[in-house]
Symmetry: C2
Subunit: 220 residues, 2 copies
């Protein structure tokens, strides 16, 4: 089978591991652009469709983005009339976790977050949804009596800036400019999962060392 | 109102912001221990109940843990017959994201993750669920053509180790040993959210700098 060739929907399903009815659902919902019509009930699909299907699957299954959110992400990716940076900003908005009304002093926490952004000179939109998520998280930590964990946001900012410098630089230096926005989406979402899983392992390791336990070893 | 005093369920609801029917549901599901009976249909609740309610709310609303998972976390927290480290390990298992069957070469990715753990000398249980989550994420990055982002897991491990050293040290040095496990749960879950939100902001900032956009500034 030739990677560059056009394929029918059955083969697209086999290659992507996504069932034909699900692919048809994505076509109806316009998550996936239509194939190239070859007859009244037939169409051919190309490599771009396969790549898009894998992206949809990662967004839904790994990042837990709802179908409506996936549509928003993909529309942002495809909107050629905006700068790359704006498209990425729209993607951030689409994947931002939904906010719950904060318990505790949300105003104070938001001021703390905005002060951090100003101090670090971060160029972020004043209405970036992550500001609200962060403020809410800080407020809840305080409400739960764990405010000291959020006291030094600068420390966390150092750490994530190191991550972002490396991740964004890797992606924008790639040779396919039309796929950079797609790469940023994938890197943002899967990178978050990667960091979270590694952080859990590091927590387990450090807690084993500090709290001690004879039965925990690195061996299988 | 005295903070240390015992209160009826209505006052517990008011203080926690959780409705009386929801509190009764948590009592039935044994997420919340029963109050101190003061009559056939009356009970008093103490500060521990309020703290536990806030923890339940954070787990469900912020961390998205299902009720069954919350029950598992709380049982692990309360199991006095295990070492603190074991209780924390059980909590990690309960909050680990559910795994989907991995697309791509999961075996290779898992070998990469286990090699990393060995190289770093991390003391983690060989069946820690985060190993599977991490391997799956690496495999999916490869399947999506973004394998280079996962090529240097050592870099990510450096970053999260720095986080974990600081976070665990802060929690275990606290003066209330019986609340350390609870603090670890909160720190693990809310810390993940804090890191994720800050990372998004750092990404926006770095991408603004590298990709450029006149309309994005740090000002409101």
């Amino acid at each position: 089978l030739e990677e560059e060739g056009k394929v029918r929907i059955g083969e697209l399903s086999r290659r992507s591991g996504i069932s034909v009815p699900t692919i048809k659902f994505y076509l109806r919902e316009r998550l996936l652009p239509p194939g190239e019509r070859t007859g009244p009930n037939q169409a051919d699909y190309a490599d771009g469709h396969l790549r898009r299907l894998r992206l949809i699957r990662a967004l839904i299954e790994l990042a837990g983005v709802p179908v409506a959110g996936v549509k928003e992400v993909l529309e942002s990716l495809d909107s050629g009339d905006q700068t790359l940076h704006h498209r990425i900003g729209a993607v951030h908005r689409a994947i931002a976790p939904s906010r719950q009304p904060a318990e505790g002093d949300g105003t104070h926490a938001e001021a703390q977050v905005r002060a951090l952004i100003e101090k670090r000179g971060w160029a972020v939109e004043p209405d970036a949804p992550a500001i609200g998520t962060l403020a809410e998280t800080v407020a809840v930590l305080h409400a739960l009596g764990q405010g000291d964990l959020a006291a030094d946001l600068d420390f966390y900012a150092d750490v994530v800036e190191r991550l972002a410098e490396r991740e964004v630089a890797a992606v924008v230096s790639r040779p396919e400019p039309d796929r950079i926005a797609e790469s940023v989406v994938i890197g943002t979402i899967l990178g978050e999962r990667l960091v979270a899983a590694l952080r859990l392992l590091a927590h387990e390791h450090v807690s084993a060392r500090l709290l001690g336990s004879a039965s925990v070893t690195g061996e299988a």
